[in-house]
């Protein structure tokens, strides 16, 4: 029997207010859908355990406030993420256009190795569609991201997109993983590794502030 070990990492959901980030998260972790819109005011998270290539992966998924007034604060969470979902609403041209801004923020604030996936949510609302699938595809291609159209309402592509991002993160960290797999048999915390690396730059960690 192979010794079990865990990998823990963080995924972040970003996008305009109302595109359905919280619903994506609820659908994925609790398999539930709550149609009423209550804005997330803060940063929420949930845990989920997946098995990818026989590796037990525990992911912490962070759901952020999308409202503009909070963006200066939510940016500070980016650096702790290993994977990021950029989410827009296919029925909102505006939310799609804002993806560029979100993406540039990610480039600025997230770690270099961060993996990204583009999500066009609310694919069930075809009659209200403002953003063609092709547009999403094109944008994703331009940024070198994977792209999914999802529906938290009908549970379309939810598991697929989360699993995909988790796989990407695993691949991107494969080197660290393989190294550690040999020597360590208990929990491997990628997020902890990131933080240790962060200590070296010294600037931001001077104060004892906890964002977790």
């Amino acid at each position: 029997m192979a010794k079990q070990y865990d990998v823990l990492f963080r995924l972040l959901l970003l996008g305009d207010s109302g595109v359905g980030k919280t619903c994506l998260l609820c659908r994925f972790t609790d398999n539930a859908f709550h149609p009423s819109h209550i804005s997330t005011i803060g940063v929420d998270f949930k845990m989920k355990t997946l098995e990818i290539d026989g590796i037990k992966v525990r992911i912490q998924i962070w759901d952020t406030a999308g409202q503009e007034r909070y963006q200066t604060i939510t940016k500070q969470y980016y650096r702790r993420a290993q994977g990021i979902f950029l989410v827009y609403d296919i029925t909102s041209e505006r939310s799609f256009q804002h993806i560029m801004k979100w993406a540039s923020d990610v480039d600025e604030y997230a770690p270099e190795k961060v993996q990204k996936v583009l999500i066009g949510n609310k694919s069930d609302e075809e009659h209200k569609r403002q953003v063609a699938t092709e547009q999403g595809n094109k944008l994703a291609k331009a940024y070198g991201m994977d792209f999914f159209e999802t529906s938290a309402f009908t549970n379309h592509n939810i598991t697929e997109s989360f699993t995909r991002l988790a796989e990407l993160v695993l691949q991107a960290n494969k080197k660290d993983l393989d190294l550690l797999r040999v020597s360590i048999n208990d929990q491997l915390d990628l997020s902890a590794l990131e933080e240790e690396a962060g200590v070296c730059d010294g600037s931001s960690n001077a104060q004892k502030t906890c964002w977790c």
């Binding site: 972790t29 803060g42 940063v43 989920k48 355990t49 604060i73 502030t209 906890c210």
Partner: protein, 894 residues
């Protein structure tokens, strides 16, 4: 205070008390206060338990009572007493166990206790990671000596640990047996007893996995080793029935006392006697070799000979694989399975227990194999118990010894070793040596001739002892329809014809314990004549739990999902009554507060704290405070946090000028949980307080009558330029004039003017009057107006003598003319204010008989406000500033 200091004083060099906690030791008749310290020495850890007087400050205050080495045999678990409701915020009750001893302690609620337990846990995890190498605890030996001094312990110390008895039978006699002289037990670490301790932990785990959500949550949040995996295992075990089904397999069990003989004939008639080939074979031998060599060196050629004989004698219609052979002197057990079943056999472990001479040697005793077949755990025991007709109690004792001393290592070393009885199926074969009581040899032979086995069986010692539940409790045996298998003349079917002429007996038996077992056949084999015993066989049909892989996978995933769900439910969470707070019409030095109510709507108690945002020096802007900024909310409880806004002289200027707004976002962080954003907004009413002199000179109207944009624009104008508007600027701010004029007219003779504080409420009226022009004369007492004037000067963003000229003023403070010279260089409006104020002060000094002022007092007060340092002032600077100012208080000659 940190009581580890006191403990540290009692320790040797190289020993460190890492952390200490005061606790209550639970005794049978109450509690006693103790000090518990975690002591480290060269990477080994032990818990030291001290009695203490008062709050322990020095080493003299504590007396060592007990040392518990943190070894593999150590455990500490949180327990919730069944008769107490789990109260959030209640003391933490823990059970500390070491080998056979345990004690219960109550630790005070709080983070310190958590920290303590975490440290202890970490120490224990370290030990586990080192396994199988174990700590030696040599450094504890010196303490052991101390304990041996009689009377060094209080009587209560002997009561506190109750011995847990091993056999679960002898409760009474043990109660007084524990003396604290045996309190160090570091040596016997890997003795058999470790199994029990680990079993406790597991039981604890199983029990708590059925506990309330919050209990589980606490476990999940504890940084404990592999806890999640254990929970998954427990849940899988609980749901085993859903993903397994019962399938029957035939087990062939055999036992044969070969009396030291070598195999001379085929065993096929015994082992191959079933119609169909059995699925598994478990074949036990006794007295394989009676030689001294076998006894002393446990080495015998007979092992190979008999193994070969067995292999050759198995049912010919199937292929078998030998899975395990285990032997102790003459007791041997062979375990075969049909080839196709081999892949479903796992976790095979073999052990032996000697119960012979000195209770240890291998001439008597048992060998056993523990294994898993599909999802069932099975233990097969082959034993040879004590001989002689009258020794049945000795046989009972051998059985008990075997049960209590046989431990099987588990693959997962963090799990406790298994005992025989922990297996869901136990198959027991052997020469159990029970005889027939109360019958003469002739009577026995007669009954056998008549085939009256029933009567005979009633005299069987094993049956009688089992009926009395003295031995083999819970075991079954099939009906015996064969004549006794002992004792024959070797090579024949004739009863023992030797001098001893033994009474025949059913020495050789096969028993089982467990569910879904039916015996298909139980017989002896008369035509095997190799020994003075006859071999016995039993064919059992056993229902084995076979896993349905698909359902198993689904169940596993369900469990993982439900654990995730549980974990998510247990993330600390609160609800906020409001996310947005607006403070309207905030005024200078006016306190406004609103209440933020946190309600803990989660499943666990939580700790909250407002945390700093990146690149900001504090968790909030300087005009805002949250009180309390951190704290604790119990589950289902709520806490009120006061959000207070107060604009003082340091924050007012930027708010007046529009460079800053009353806007902030607070980040409320829950430990291990979410973050909440709380928006604070507000409107600030600009005030003359905190506005620059040159700007106020441009305002002919009260400041609050002006449009905000105008104020902001005027603020941004450089000091020297006059208003672009044609209107001429005022010489001095009208607000200064109003206050000074008011004082000049009303307070010149006021006793203790500028020395007595005003009233806060009156200040607010004066401020409003100045900012809105609502009244023609200033309200409030003279003292309040005087104080308002001082506050006004204090709040000026640029003092009357600008910061840039501060040093110059100090440098020339001894020269009257140079001082005057500097003042002439001030910007016009500043110069006006300075001259106006000093003139007023000189007027006041004329009335010093009434107002009791002198130039010394006034210079001290006003120099500090008008000649302010851009940085912190030292005493010398203060003196110089006063000196400077005093030149201007001298009455000029007219």
């Amino acid at each position: 205070m940190d009581q580890s200091v006191a403990i540290q004083e009692t320790l040797d060099v190289g020993e460190n008390c890492l952390i200490a906690v005061q606790c209550l030791l639970l005794l049978r008749n109450g509690t006693e206060s103790r000090l518990l310290g975690l002591v480290e020495c060269s990477k080994e850890h032990a818990l030291f338990l001290f009695s203490h007087r008062r709050m322990a400050i020095t080493g003299n205050d504590v007396t060592l009572q007990e040392i518990i080495p943190i070894s593999y045999d150590f455990s500490v678990v949180e327990v919730s007493s069944p008769d107490e409701l789990a109260v959030v915020g209640a003391d933490t009750r823990v059970r500390v166990t070491f080998l056979n001893e345990e004690m219960e302690l109550k630790l005070p609620f709080g983070s310190h206790t958590r920290l303590f337990l975490t440290e202890v846990n970490r120490a224990w995890c370290d030990v586990c990671e080192q396994y199988p190498s174990s700590p030696k605890f040599a450094w504890l030996n010196k303490y052991q000596k101390n304990f041996k001094e009689p009377g060094s312990l209080t009587p209560s110390a002997t009561r506190k640990i109750k011995k847990r008895d091993r056999s679960n039978t002898a409760h009474k006699e043990n109660k007084h047996a524990t003396s604290s002289t045996e309190t160090i037990r570091g040596e016997s670490l890997h003795e058999s007893s470790q199994g029990r301790e680990k079993a406790e932990i597991r039981n604890e785990l199983v029990r708590s996995s059925q506990h309330t959500v919050s209990n589980k949550a606490q476990m999940l949040t504890m940084p404990q080793f592999g806890l999640r995996d254990n929970l998954v295992k427990c849940e899988l075990l609980k749901k085993e029935e859903t993903y397994t089904y019962i399938e029957n397999f035939n087990f062939f069990l055999g036992t044969y006392n070969v009396n030291g003989q070598t195999p001379k004939e085929s065993l096929h008639t015994w082992l191959g006697s079933t119609a169909q080939p059995p699925d598994l074979y478990c074949v036990g031998f006794q007295e394989l070799d009676l030689s001294k060599e076998a006894f002393f060196f446990n080495d015998t050629p007979k092992e190979q000979e008999w193994m070969k004989a067995v292999s050759d004698g198995l049912h010919p219609d199937a292929k078998y694989a030998l899975i395990k052979l285990v032997r102790l002197v003459g007791i041997m057990l062979l375990f075969y399975v049909k080839k196709e079943h081999a892949e479903y056999i796992s976790d095979v472990e073999a052990e032996t227990v000697g119960t012979g001479i000195m209770g240890r040697m291998g001439n008597k005793g048992a060998v056993a194999v523990s294994f898993r077949f599909h999802n069932s755990d099975i233990c097969v025991v082959n034993s040879h118990l004590a001989a002689h007709i009258e020794e049945y109690e000795r046989r009972n004792q051998d059985y008990k010894d075997i049960c209590s001393r046989m431990f099987f290592r588990q693959l997962d070393l963090t799990l406790p070793p298994l005992t025989i009885m922990k297996h869901s199926i136990v198959l027991w074969v052997g020469d159990l040596n029970y005889r027939l009581s109360d019958l003469e040899v002739d009577e026995v032979k007669n009954l056998i001739l008549k085939g009256d086995f029933e009567t005979l069986h009633n005299h069987d010692q094993l049956k009688r002892q089992m009926d009395e539940e003295a031995v083999f409790v819970g075991f079954m045996e099939g009906e015996i329809n064969f004549q006794p298998t002992y004792k024959y003349d070797t090579g024949s079917d004739e009863w023992d014809s030797s001098e001893k002429c033994r009474v025949p007996a059913w020495c050789d038996r096969i028993l089982w314990r467990g569910k879904n077992i039916t015996q298909l056949n139980y017989q002896s084999h008369m035509n095997v004549r190799n020994s003075d015993h006859k071999p016995v066989s039993s064919l059992l049909k056993i229902g084995i739990k076979v896993v349905n892989e698909e359902i198993y996978k689904r169940t596993f995933e369900d469990i993982v999902r439900s654990l995730d769900k549980l974990e998510n439910e247990c993330i600390p969470s609160v609800s906020l009554a409001q996310h947005v707070f607006h403070f309207s019409n905030v005024k200078f030095m006016q306190h406004q507060a609103q209440t933020l109510t946190l309600y803990n709507d989660g499943q666990v108690p939580c700790q909250f704290e407002f945390i700093q945002k990146l690149d900001e020096p504090a968790y909030c802007k300087p005009w805002l405070t949250a009180n309390p900024p951190k704290g604790f909310v119990a589950q289902g409880a709520s806490v009120d946090i006061d959000l207070e806004v107060f604009v003082n002289r340091s924050t007012a200027p930027e708010l007046n000028s529009g460079q800053q707004q009353l806007e902030d976002i607070l980040v409320l962080h829950l430990e291990r949980g979410k973050d909440y954003f709380i928006s604070i907004t507000g409107s600030y009413l600009p005030s003359c307080f905190g506005s620059p002199i040159h700007m106020l000179c441009q305002l002919r109207e009260p400041i609050q009558d002006m449009p905000l944009e105008t104020i902001h624009k005027l603020n941004s104008l450089p000091r020297e330029t006059s208003s672009p508007d044609t209107e001429k600027a005022l010489d001095i701010p009208k607000e200064i004039w109003m206050m000074v004029d008011h004082l000049y007219r009303n307070a010149s003779k006021q006793e203790d003017i500028f020395q007595q504080p005003g009233l806060r409420s009156e200040f607010e009226e004066i401020r409003d009057c100045l900012d809105t022009g609502s009244l023609d004369t200033l309200p409030g007492s003279n003292h309040s107006v005087a104080e308002a004037l001082l506050l006004f000067l204090d709040a000026l963003p640029e003092p009357v003598i600008p910061y840039s000229m501060y040093q110059q003023c100090l440098d020339c403070c001894y020269s009257n003319s140079q001082c005057k010279q500097i003042i002439s260089l001030l910007p016009q409006c500043h110069k006006n204010v300075f001259n106006y104020l000093t003139a007023f002060l000189r007027e006041l000094l004329k009335n010093s008989a009434h107002n009791r002022l002198d130039s010394n007092i006034l210079a001290t007060i006003f120099a500090a406000l008008m000649l302010r340092s851009p940085t912190k002032q030292d005493i010398l600077e203060k003196r110089k500033a006063k000196e400077f100012f005093q030149h201007f208080l001298v009455q000029e000659s007219h």
